[in-house]
């Protein structure tokens, strides 16, 4: 069951995820055509409602929307009515009154996407809410992993780094577990929230012990500012203990893939040479993101009209 909204990876079972990934495969070809456009969402209006700065995710969604021929509105909180003090609810009611068909929302507050569904009839796509969820990121990661290995089930995956502050970690771990991967979350205890075992993952603080058995090493962004709140002493020490560098890359099995949701902090969680290594799939993640977002928009909005495309 997919929809009516896409808020949380917990709402998607393995069948739904498979449908999304299969559909994305079909859309990936669009990027290879001379005219990169299908008429699927012609006449549909999609609003990209971004309360938080984001370049990568917004551009990815915007390309996906335009390739599906949707009418696209970009709403950024800066310089808008929000900056003049309009409440989140009033912004939502305004969009509702304007009759948009879908809202892609990015917000600094966890739960904002779910709250939005209370006030609008439009389909809501969560493009990242606080430290809660970022489901399209998880879906594009699953797509990238499946594309590389032909499956997700049974793979050994480590998710490494700042889990407590990461919406990506929540979505990715859920998606991987749902699809049958074996997930180990790795990082210093200060960056791992309590009750992680309820996610169906293993927890480790020792990256070196985990690396040799991995199929996928998923590195999370570690913001340098975190060291000012004593999550770790220095980014140099973090890099030495939990960062992926060339020495650790050598320990990783040759077939293993390296993923990162970006933007990378080269020199903290990943060194430059690892980021550019052949088994780093970071640019594939970015291009797959467009196909996966097209797939989700199509499945949530396309319906019967979409079928004729």
């Amino acid at each position: 069951m997919i929809g009516p909204d896409l808020l949380d990876m917990a709402d998607l079972d393995a069948e739904a995820i498979t449908t999304i990934l299969d559909t994305a495969e079909g859309f990936k070809d669009v990027a290879l055509r001379p005219i990169k456009k299908v008429p699927t969402l012609r006449g549909r209006t999609v609003c990209n409602l971004f309360f938080e700065d984001s370049t990568r995710t917004r551009i990815s969604f915007e390309i996906a929307e335009k390739r599906l021929s949707a009418d696209v509105i970009n709403f950024s909180a800066k310089g808008s009515s929000v900056a003049k003090g309009e409440s989140f609810k009033d912004t939502a009611l305004t969009l509702q009154a304007m009759g948009v068909d879908a809202i892609v929302i990015r917000h600094a507050a966890s739960g904002a996407a779910q709250q939005l569904t209370r006030w609008v009839d439009a389909r809501v796509l969560n493009a990242g809410d606080g430290t809660h969820q970022h489901p399209t990121q998880a879906l594009l990661d699953l797509y990238t992993i499946r594309e590389r290995f032909g499956r997700v089930e049974g793979l050994e995956v480590a998710v490494v780094g700042d889990v407590v502050h990461s919406r990506v970690a929540r979505s990715v771990c859920q998606g991987l577990v749902t699809m049958g991967a074996h997930v180990t979350v790795v990082g210093p205890p200060t960056l791992l929230p309590p009750a992680l075992e309820t996610w169906g993952v293993r927890v480790s603080h020792d990256l070196d012990a985990v690396l040799p058995g991995l199929d996928v090493c998923y590195l999370l962004r570690v913001q340098r500012e975190r060291m000012h709140a004593q999550f770790f002493p220095t980014s140099r020490e973090y890099a030495r203990i939990w960062g992926l560098d060339a020495d650790r890359l050598a320990v990783l099995p040759e077939h293993a893939a390296i993923l990162h949701p970006g933007p990378m902090n080269r020199g903290v969680e990943i060194t430059a040479d690892v980021a550019d290594a052949p088994n780093a799939l970071i640019t594939e993640q970015v291009s797959n993101g467009i196909a996966v977002r097209m797939s989700v928009l199509y499945l949530l909005l396309g319906g019967e009209e979409g079928a004729e495309a």
Binding site: F88, H107, G111, G130, H132, Q133, P194
Partner: protein, 440 residues
């Protein structure tokens, strides 16, 4: 008022102060109770099936006036209190301006007197402007009757300030009530740290932040022989700390809120910020510990921490919404539903926690019983069985942030009597000057 003469007939009189729990008539003459027993004089008001208890007393409310009148006023908050069965409430000091001097205390007292719904016993601030640095003029406030001081919502961080406040307040044997929260552990915190906060991506609010300050304050109060009140106990650890302190003779009292004995952090699911509160909703284990603390006397009082917020503030993203919940109009029913009908407390114990206990811990004379001849007629009559559904839109409070909105509760207030005058009659407000027996 000397013409007032009526009798509640056939009520179950539950009065912890006298130990009475029996069917009796209660005769009210003027502003006093004239008789309890078989006597019946004046207007007869059938109270068959109802419980007659001393008017409820709330140690912890926010009436928001002065300064926050969009959310609540003294008149609207005390009207809500009377509808909830209260005859006395203790408003906290975090108004604008702060209740850290005599002027605001007198203003709140006058507003409450004019409204006439409920007695108020304002809590003064511990420190000027709730800033935690310089002591407020406790003595001048004590001189006009303030006997409890709190920077509620702004925990006193400095051990030195806290120690001085406890010591200084001993002059009047006054109570220091410190919101227990170690602020560096709760910077940015949104929800009890645990499975729910991890899953929902809300910054964790560790239970240790409460317990560390409770430990410190208990040690300070013990050393000084000073009176300490621990507000809104929310963790199992705090219950245990207070229990142990009482056992060794520390002069400590404690309160728990209805939301901390009835709700858990699972309520954050869905991100409705009506469930955002300080201290946060905790876990099942904490709820069980708070209930046990109420049952064994560790926790003396149920207090609502009634904290109105205008809808536009609560209808924000969880991260941006303020903390606080309404409680005055639902606490009796929540207590009956969650604690009495489930067998955690007897009815007499519930009345003790909602009336006699809080009046005793705060030395509030004339409230909390006993229901006996010559005593002020401060009474609540409620139907312990009646089922009703909470509709936040119909509350007398100016705000709507009641977490029990939509819930079916068991137990309903019919009448509240303040010194012989009905403030609530048949579940409806009676304004000052309205004939008391109009709907008889």
């Amino acid at each position: 008022m000397s013409s007032t003469l009526f009798t509640f007939t056939g009520a179950r009189v539950v009065d912890p102060a006298s130990g009475r729990d029996e069917i009796a008539n209660v005769v009210v003459e003027g502003d006093r109770i004239a008789a309890v027993g078989e006597d019946s004089r004046g207007l007869r008001i059938d109270a068959d099936g109802l419980v007659a208890a001393p008017g409820l007393v709330d140690l912890h409310v926010h009436l928001r006036e002065p300064g926050g009148e969009d959310a609540e006023t003294v008149a609207s908050g005390t009207r809500a209190a009377a509808l909830g069965g209260f005859t006395a409430v203790c408003p906290m000091a975090n108004t604008q301006p702060v209740c850290d001097h005599v002027g605001v205390v007198e203003q709140v007292l006058r507003l409450a007197r004019d409204a006439g719904h409920c007695d108020v016993y304002p809590v003064g601030a511990i420190t000027r402007d709730l800033a935690g640095a310089e002591l407020a003029e406790l003595g001048s406030m004590a001189a006009i009757g303030v006997n409890c001081f709190s920077d509620d919502g702004h925990p006193v961080q400095s051990a030195q300030v806290m120690r001085r406040a406890l010591a200084y307040a001993k002059t009047w044997d006054a109570i220091i009530c410190n919101h227990s929260e170690e602020a560096t552990l709760t910077a940015g915190a949104q929800l009890n740290e645990g499975e729910a906060s991890t899953r929902l991506g809300l910054a964790g609010w560790p239970h240790e932040a409460e317990e560390i300050v409770v430990v410190r304050d208990l040690i300070l109060a013990e050393g000084l022989g000073a009176r300490l009140h621990v507000p809104h106990v929310s963790t199992a650890g705090t219950v245990e700390l207070v229990r142990a302190a009482k056992a060794r003779g520390v002069r400590v009292t404690a309160e728990a809120t209805p939301h901390h004995f009835a709700l858990t952090d699972a309520r954050a699911e869905g991100y409705d910020a009506v469930n955002k509160v300080n201290p946060p909703l905790r876990t099942d284990a904490d709820v069980a510990a708070v209930r046990a603390g109420l049952a064994d006397g560790t926790i003396d009082a149920i207090a609502t921490d009634h904290a109105p917020h205008a809808p536009e503030h609560k209808e924000q993203a969880w991260l941006h919404a303020p903390c606080g919940m309404l409680g005055l109009e639902t606490v009796l029913a929540v207590t009956l539903t969650e604690l009495v009908h489930t067998g955690v407390l007897t009815l007499a114990q519930a009345v003790e926690k909602l009336s006699t206990g809080p009046a005793r811990t705060r030395d509030i004379a004339g409230h909390g019983g006993p229901i006996a001849p010559g005593q002020p007629a401060n009474l609540v009559l409620f139907d312990p069985e009646a089922r009703w559904r909470v509709d936040a839109a119909k509350l007398a409070s100016r705000s709507r942030n009641n977490p029990f909105d939509g819930a079916e509760l068991r137990g309903q207030v019919l009448h509240t009597v303040l010194r012989g005058r009905f403030t609530t009659r048949d579940g409806e407000t009676v304004e000052v000057g309205e004939p008391a027996g109009a709907r008889a």
